[in-house]
């Protein structure tokens, strides 16, 4: 991290001092600096690192495509799924990606409504990440069906058989829930982009950039009228997407909660899934932010304080998830239901115990390190932690889905093993995600310039409201 370049930071006494607020942007940059810093990655030739990263991601995307083609040609049998265990990696990956796709809208909408100004530094690419994650998520329910060419029957389209989809099926609810979430997030994200697109348009040197950004900016001229409409629209969209953040994963959790399978059939799932989603979402934002801020020299904008705050959120959500794990056990014992009890004992000590304990370690134990300020502010620690948490959250879903392997009739118990195809598909989906993400880093401003400028000290000359100490001055 490049804090070394900074003057002594006044922050040491700040936390206890209510009169003062943190400075959200370090380095005492001017508005112009901000614009320059944020536009640089888009305008300057891409660093070699970008090409390497993009190359790898794109290769993985190719792998994904290959696996899907193979799947469609040969059939679900090339996966390890079997009779008791008819879902495996497919659904695990779906829920995992949807979960990751939560942080973005949470940051942009909820934190916005709570006036958490520090969000401005990270909301842009958190949102971007959300959209890409949801795209990856939507891939899996689509390809996991046995006859993908008949998928249209799951959509409420008028047809010549006068048969409708089954509106009682949670899978159909998913279609609507995730679809809505995706649409709103996309619009929200694009809304936020408009002023910055205009900036890029105005700075454009080549004809093409000029035209493309021009069209995308939809004639934004930054007039007062534009701004007031923009603010209104942004607020409304924030209001709309806030409930979605909660609804999506609640509904995804219904896929399991609505069934009768022991280990699935539980009312705790909606809150538990939402918490988990935010948990994993922040972990992913963290992973990406750490790399991006470093690679594109944005350490003054995405400061250590931002990361610190996010770590706190991860600690909280991590504890929530841990509580849920505990509660599941308690309830299964309390229910006195023979099958429930068996399922949870089996989870912790049965054939999939190893997965269960990976989950516990990564999701419950690892976040505990964030009780300590040093850890919260140590880049390497949080980088490793955030990755572990993402692994852990993947295993959480895996463990839940593996409840299928031993349900009611012992005679039909089985064991699920993924095939190389499933593993490659998972890697491939990461490729899909990162391909999008690298393109985003290259062609769109990864930080909301317009909003950042709002939180610069200069934006508020009289020091009302945030009254930040212009960085550089001793406190």
């Amino acid at each position: 991290m490049s804090t070394a370049t900074m003057p002594p930071e006044p922050r040491e006494l700040v936390p206890d001092d209510p009169r003062r607020r943190l400075t959200l942007v370090h380095g005492g940059h001017s508005f112009a600096d901000i614009t320059r810093m944020v536009c640089a990655p888009v305008e300057e030739p891409a660093p070699r690192g970008w090409w390497i990263g993009f190359g790898i991601a794109f290769a993985c995307l190719g792998l994904f495509v290959a696996m899907v083609v193979y799947l469609v040609l040969v059939g679900i049998g090339i996966w390890g799924l079997n009779n008791p265990q008819a879902w495996g990696f497919d659904t695990t990956n779906f829920v995992w990606w949807v979960g990751i796709g939560h942080a973005g809208t949470l940051i942009s909408a909820i934190l916005y409504l709570f006036r958490q100004k520090w969000r401005t530094a990270i909301n842009r690419f958190a949102e971007a990440m959300t959209i890409f994650a949801v795209i990856c998520a939507l891939m899996f329910p689509t390809i996991h069906v046995g006859r993908i060419w008949m998928l249209w029957m799951a959509l409420p389209i008028p047809n010549w058989e006068s048969v409708w989809p089954q509106f009682r099926s949670p899978l159909l609810w998913d279609v609507f829930a995730v679809g809505t979430y995706f649409t709103v997030s996309l619009i929200f994200w694009y809304m936020g982009l408009i002023p910055d697109l205009a900036t890029l348009r105005d700075r454009a040197k080549s004809k093409i950039r000029w035209l493309v950004y021009g069209i995308l900016a939809m004639g934004w001229r930054g007039s007062a009228r534009h701004w007031s409409n923009y603010e209104k629209a942004y607020l409304i969209l924030a209001g709309i997407s806030t409930p979605l953040v909660l609804s999506v994963h609640s509904i995804v959790s219904f896929d399991f909660a609505v069934s009768i399978i022991p280990g699935w059939h539980t009312t705790i799932f909606p809150p538990y899934f939402v918490a988990g989603a935010i948990f994993s979402g922040f972990a992913m934002v963290m992973t990406l932010a750490i790399v991006a801020r470093r690679a594109f020299r944005l350490t003054d904008i995405i400061t250590i304080d931002h990361l610190d705050n996010m770590n706190k959120i991860m600690l909280v959500t991590g504890m929530m998830v841990g509580y849920a794990y505990l509660m599941e056990f308690f309830i299964s014992w309390y229910s006195g239901n023979r099958y429930e009890m068996f399922t949870f004992v089996n989870r912790a000590f049965g054939p999939y115990a190893w997965a269960y304990w990976i989950m516990i370690t990564c999701n419950v134990l690892v976040p505990q390190i964030f009780w300590f300020r040093r850890n919260r502010r140590s880049i390497p620690v949080m980088f490793v932690a955030s990755i572990l948490i993402n692994v852990g959250m993947w295993f959480e879903r895996f463990v839940i889905i593996m409840s299928l392997s031993r349900d009611f009739l012992p005679s039909s118990w089985g064991y699920y093993k993924p095939t190389w195809v499933e593993i490659c598909t998972l890697i491939g989906s990461l490729g899909l995600f990162f391909t999008f993400f690298f393109l985003f880093l290259r062609f769109l401003p990864m930080v909301a310039m317009a909003e950042i400028k709002n939180v610069l000290p200069q934006a508020d000359a009289h020091g009302h409201g945030q009254g930040g100490v212009p960085a550089g001055e001793p406190a």
């Binding site: 059939g75 049998g77 079997n82 009779n83 046995g146 799951a154 299928l404 012992p410 005679s411 095939t419």
Partner: protein, 996 residues
């Protein structure tokens, strides 16, 4: 958890062989149960094994073609209609017809009805008018429809490996025959299967009169020599027993698997079940004592079971005789039977058995199994006499065809060796594969200049023969057959020979130089028998499936010659000194190997071990421990310095110190399905040890993957299979329902789509008390519903497709395990969990209470399968039928959609049968009668354990059964409201014995 189990169940439940102690073996066993997570993760192609097995192989461009058809769906293919040019009489297109015929199997004729669609047979059922069937069938009969359409059947005569025509064969044969005739057939030998066809027998005698010096030998690896020899000893003449199991209160079986392996098993099962069926706590049940080595399905039905080494079974019989004569004043011809040295518990068992028998004189039966030596059979007959069972329970008839097969084949081999035989005709059998190992039939055959081999397949024997002749399938040709009791049936063809096959009858007429077709020959024969041929009588015979006017054998009255019997006992070979013993027995799936190329049978799980696509050396846990092997390890078994490697399979409840080797596997020329499946145990079977032989067994190197359809053997203390004793039942008829202490289920979701009040409301009853786990229902369902087979590798991945499976759980003590069977079809839940999770409405409910599955609507999310608590749904993970040969399509039931890859399927209570009958009734403007609609599983079931009908009709059988106290539904606490329900199982133990 264990105490809880004990409370839950009438007897302690345990999980797998070693759970009780959590011993190291348990961990080993556990390994087999949860395999390494990444094992097979990286095998490429995912199904190398199946790829090798071309019929199942699926990789390749199939998907592409499928996708294309998917796309090309829009434009319309030009479909042709090809009407008959002249309508065959009494054929109405679209309406299947049924013909009666007879299946030759196990040296008897099994009466069957065959359904034919536009001239292609598609389904086999039992013939209700036939005494050996009474309307039911065993799996072999069901599966023979697939055998008919087996693409690997031989199609042409062959000389060496080269294709020939029948004319060429004749031109080859004629000079040889004239030469043979000149010498009265010296040097000519026939080796055939024992037949139950009078016509064929007549033809054989004709041959022997034409070639007086020719010799005729019958040989079948699974034969009844012991029983026949036993009757010779006891009764002085070859005799056949007709046992009326429905007349017996006490049954003592000396290693006799009479519910499956013995001839006439279907009838036995029917009669036996008749005495296990109870309507109320006042009804009585028979009691079955089983003394056996292997854990047979008959053993699983036993009320008391004694597991003991095969050679000891005889000693038990002797002890029984002693006890009866000494302690229960039973007169055994003044013979004193020396007390036998047996362990005290065994003697106690024998004592109780004797006591029970003595208390049920004239109402009991003692039977010896085909693998027991003659003297045991003789003694069993003697005991039946002494107990006055002859007459009321067992009757004797002459043995129509007492071939001494074991000496026969040995003698033949010897004279082949000495060059006395220069022309050998093999009719139907496969001696090269299944003749005793020590006579080395292959080598002997090489010494015979001319060998002609008639067979359904170009098999191991045909390969070695100079000429191979294709045989017709029994559904392709005319003939006849005798039921166990002698009742005759005409065997009529359902389809013209598909290839250039000829029946044995026709081939023999070739050898007589008077070629004729089977139809003429059979009619001629019956004309001779009836004095004058009567067309009307003939037609009635064809129509009924039995030749009119009592053709059954005449009963013979015989009194046992006790001195002969005891003499035989004095000659009895002493039991081998405490070494291991092997016992050979036919396999539950492929019998003696003849069904090895039948994928239905190969994929049919063994009723007890649940192994598919394999056989294994069955041994008890103790034996395995002493050998230091665990389930699936290779062991090397050697008998009389012959050695073979075979996988060990640990079976609870098996006798210690003995190893059971099922026959019929390890074929090399069975066909694309059966080649190289399992281990050829004939390699150890010698003339001296055809059934039982001392052996040395030691751990071999390596592990073998035995695949089971059920990885988990125990109930986990869950009240799924509910059983009690007759006493418990009498005390508390409701005992079964009270085994589940779950609170009554209440549903918040009240607005149901249907109220299920309007009749008919379909339901199915399965009586666990009469289900013997014989698998007939599973095969019947497979045949009726076009259920695909998937191959060993896919079964290992739990992808088998059977719509009705039979769960087998072990219960009770680890060593002396008992077993229970539970058939699981779709439960047709009224609140079906599968229905409301399907996003496309592909599975939903019908007004008459069926849980429908619409294949053409299914997109394959598999959510329904996840949410099915009974896991009865089956998913087409791959295009199982991709490489299916064209001809197999002829075996398909045209009334049932053949499912494509990517769709879910499951039991539908045979909705096609329901619809057919419903429409028949509607067209006739009448109501459906109870019992008019019969599901495939119900129709095949030999014990009538399955009953289907309208629950709303108070008079229907199923409604009455539902009203019984024993009836319960599976997992009722889930409030799925299943339409399929079970009747709790009862055991009828001898109470004093329980105390002992």
């Amino acid at each position: 958890m264990k105490e809880e189990r004990v409370e839950d169940q009438s007897r302690p439940q345990w999980r797998s062989l070693d759970e009780l102690t959590g011993s190291p073996e348990y961990r080993q066993y556990a390994e087999t149960e949860f395999p390494d997570f990444f094992e097979e993760t990286f095998d490429f192609p995912p199904d190398a094994e199946n790829a090798a097995l071309s019929r199942r192989s699926f990789l390749g461009v199939m998907g592409a073609t499928l996708a294309l058809t998917g796309l090309a769906g829009c434009q319309r293919p030009l479909a042709k209609i090809l009407p008959y040019s002249k309508l065959p009489e009494d054929l109405l297109p679209g309406v299947p017809q049924t013909y009666a015929t007879v299946m030759p199997f196990r040296g008897m004729g099994e009466g069957i009805l065959v359904t034919s669609n536009e001239g292609r047979p598609t389904k086999i059922e039992g013939n209700p008018d036939h005494p050996s069937s009474l309307g039911a069938t065993h799996g072999f009969a069901q599966a023979s429809i697939l055998e008919l359409y087996d693409p690997d059947r031989s199609q042409l005569p062959m000389e060496g490996g080269a294709a020939r025509t029948w004319d060429e064969f004749n031109t080859w044969l004629t000079p040889k025959l004239s030469a043979l005739r000149a010498v009265g057939g010296r040097g000519l030998a026939f080796l055939s299967l024992p037949t139950a066809s009078p016509v064929l027998r007549a033809k054989r005698t004709e041959i022997l009169s034409a070639f007086p010096n020719a010799r005729w030998v019958d040989y079948e690896p699974v034969n009844r020599d012991n029983a026949i020899e036993g009757s010779r000893i006891a009764l002085g003449r070859p005799t056949r027993q007709l046992i009326a199991f429905d007349q017996a209160d006490v049954i003592v079986s000396l290693d006799s698997d009479f519910l499956f392996v013995e001839p006439n098993s279907v009838r036995h099962a029917k009669d036996y079940a008749h005495r296990r069926r109870v309507a109320s706590e006042r009804d009585t049940m028979n009691r079955l004592y089983m003394v056996e080595t292997v854990f047979s399905i008959t053993g699983s039905m036993a009320d008391h079971r004694l597991r003991i080494a095969p050679s000891q079974v005889g000693e038990v019989a002797r002890a029984l005789a002693f006890s009866l004569s000494a302690n229960h004043n039973t007169y055994l011809g003044g013979q004193t039977w020396a007390a036998v040295r047996l362990s005290d518990p065994v003697l106690a068992f024998v004592e109780r058995m004797a006591h029970d028998l003595a208390e049920h004189r004239g109402r009991s039966i003692v039977i010896a199994g085909a693998t027991q030596p003659p003297e045991v059979h003789a003694l069993a007959m003697a005991l039946n006499h002494a107990l006055g069972n002859v007459g009321p329970v067992v009757r004797y008839t002459g043995e129509p065809y007492p071939g001494e097969q074991r000496q026969g084949i040995a003698g033949l081999a010897h004279s082949m060796d000495t060059g006395e035989v220069n022309f050998l005709v093999v009719l139907g059998g496969n001696p090269v594969y299944n003749a005793p190992a020590d006579i080395d039939f292959t080598a002997k055959m090489r010494k015979v200049p001319d060998v002609v081999c008639l067979g359904l397949y170009h098999d191991e024997s045909s390969e070695k023969a100079s000429w191979h002749l294709p045989e017709t399938h029994f559904l392709e040709t005319w003939g006849d057959g005798e039921a166990w009791d002698g009742t005759r049936s005409i065997q009529q063809p359902l389809i013209a020979p598909m290839y250039q096959g000829k029946s044995e009858l026709e081939v023999l007429s070739l050898f007589l130089g008077r070629p004729a077709d089977a139809h003429a020959l059979v009619q001629e024969q019956y004309g001779r028998e009836w004095g004058v041929f009567s067309a009307s009588r003939w037609d009635r015979a064809l129509n009924d499936g039995v030749v009119p006017a009592g053709t059954a054998f005449a009963e013979v009255v015989a009194t046992p010659d006790m001195s002969g019997t005891s003499a035989a006992w004095s000659r009895r070979a002493p039991a081998p000194a405490n070494g291991l013993e092997v016992l050979f027995r036919p396999d539950y799936s492929v019998w003696d190997g003849r069904f090895a190329n039948n994928s239905w049978m190969q994929e049919l799980p063994d009723p007890m071990t649940k192994i598919v696509w394999d056989n294994a050396a069955l041994m008890s846990l103790k034996t395995a421990k002493s050998l230091g092997v665990k389930d699936g390890d290779l062991v090397s078994v050697s008998v009389a310095n012959r050695e073979m490697e075979i996988a060990a399979c640990v079976v609870p409840g098996m006798a210690d110190g003995s190893v059971v080797l099922p026959l019929g596997y390890g074929r090399t020329r069975a066909g694309r399905v059966g080649n190289g499946v399992g281990f050829n145990t004939y390699a150890l079977r010698t003339t001296t040890g055809m059934d039982i032989a001392p052996a040395t067994v030691k751990a071999g190197a390596g592990h073998y993957s035995l695949v089971r359809t059920q990885d988990h053997q125990a109930l986990e203390g869950r009240p799924l299979v509910r059983e009690g004793t007759v006493e418990e039942y009498r005390k508390n008829p409701e005992f079964a329902r009270e085994m589940n202490e779950a609170p009554p289920p209440i549903s918040l979701y009240t607005n149901k789509e249907y109220d299920f009040t309007k009749p008919p409301q379909w339901g199915m009853s399965i009586d666990l008390n009469t289900c013997i786990g014989c698998n007939a229902c599973a095969i019947a369902c497979q045949s009726e519903n076009n259920v695909p087979t998937v191959g060993k590798k896919q079964v290992k991945k739990n992808r088998e497709m059977h719509w009705i499976r039979i769960d087998r759980y072990y219960v009770g003590d680890v060593e002396d395990a008992e077993a229970v069977h539970q058939p699981i079809p779709c439960m047709q839940c009224e609140n079906a969990p599968c229905e409301n999770v399907c996003p496309v409405n592909a599975t939903n409910h019908s007004a008459d209470g069926l849980n429908q599955m619409v294949y053409n609507r299914c997109i394959g999310t598999r959510y329904c399968l996840n949410n099915c608590p009974y896991k009865v749904r089956r998913f087409n993970f791959l295009a199982w039928r991709k490489d299916q040969p064209e001809v197999i399509k002829m075996a398909m039931n045209p009334d049932v959609t053949v499912r494509m890859r990517g769709v879910m399927e499951k039991c539908t209570y045979c909705v096609q049968r329901i619809n057919r009958k419903r429409i028949e009734a509607k067209n006739a403007q009448r109501e459906l009668k109870d019992g008019e609609i019969v599901t495939a599983c119900q129709q095949a079931c030999p014990t009538e354990a399955i009953v289907f009908g309208d629950l709303k009709d108070a008079e229907s059988r199923v409604a009455k059964l539902k009203a019984q106290e024993r009836s319960y539904t599976l997992l009722e606490e889930l409030n799925t409201q299943p339409r399929t329900f079970y009747l709790a199982r009862l055991r009828n133990p001898n109470l004093e014995m329980e105390k002992a």
